[in-house]
């Protein structure tokens, strides 16, 4: 199967169709998270009392999770660089690490959620927790989605490497764009929910 302009840039746009599609998808994602950030601002400005994130949330765990996600972004970009250098072995190593770090993030997130439930802190408890669970929950779904995508390229998707390594490299780059976007969202969620 050969899709048009999958492995080479389209002359009029200057990019592959896949890259343009990925960026358009990310634009829609910006609107999704943007709407929820706007909701957060409305709830916070309208509230008579708003807790400091650290009163209810675990800042050290979230700091570790921030470092985990940043590290996973580096391993993701190294996975792409390994493809560009035509080293499948190193690609598999870095992509495997990226998937593993995604799993570490979700496990830490699970412990955070479990502690909240244990202390009877639910989304219905107050508006802060409602928006906290909504934003971090949606973000966690994105981490999981990114892991599924990355696992595909790590596993069965590799067959494209043997047929068309150039195309495969582009697809890994696009998966990377999504993964870095998820990291970028967390970079804003972390101070907004935990530190302010």
């Amino acid at each position: 199967m050969q899709l048009p302009y999958a492995a080479t840039a389209r002359p009029d746009t200057g990019v592959t169709n896949g890259k343009l599609g990925t960026w358009l998808f990310l634009a829609s994602e910006v609107m999704l998270f943007g709407a929820l950030f706007a909701t957060y601002i409305i709830l916070r400005v309208g509230a008579t009392h708003w807790p400091h994130g650290a009163e209810l949330l675990n800042v050290p765990l979230a700091t570790i999770n921030t470092a985990v996600l940043i590290t996973s972004s580096v391993t993701m970009v190294m996975a792409w660089a390994s493809c560009a250098q035509r080293s499948l072995g190193r690609f598999r190593l870095y992509m495997g690490l990226t998937i593993l770090l995604g799993a570490v993030f979700l496990v830490i997130k699970y412990f955070e959620y479990a502690a909240k439930i244990h202390h009877h802190l639910y989304p219905r408890t107050n508006t802060f927790l409602a928006i906290y669970f909504t934003l971090t929950g949606l973000h966690a779904f994105h981490v999981f989605g990114g892991m599924v995508l990355n696992a595909y390229f790590w596993g069965p998707g590799v067959r494209l490497w043997r047929e068309n390594p150039e195309w495969f490299t582009h697809r890994v780059e696009h998966a990377g764009l999504f993964w870095h976007f998820v990291d970028l969202v967390w970079i804003f969620l972390f101070p907004t929910l935990y530190l302010l």
Binding site: T63, H180, F188
Partner: protein
Amino acid sequence: MDEHALDIKKHVRIYITVFVALLALTLITVAVSYLHLPKVPAIALALLIATVKGSLVACYFMHLISERKLIFIVLIFTGIFFTGLLLLPYFTEMDVVGR
């Protein structure tokens, strides 16, 4: 191919530098939160640091530093609509329609 490989090696060095900068900025933003600054400077500083971190990720990991014009056109429109979304709370507070 050799030139290409050299280019990638240069990229890798940049990725490591960005990685260290991102970790340092994370520690700084957490440290600043323990200073318990007044609300407005605290929010401004936290968002400034987050914006710098976000820009580093977008420019270097997402390769925006060397991206084509069309992607920037998409992003300009995204930026306009995103700003509109974030202005909605302001319009709500000011009640510009109901007044």
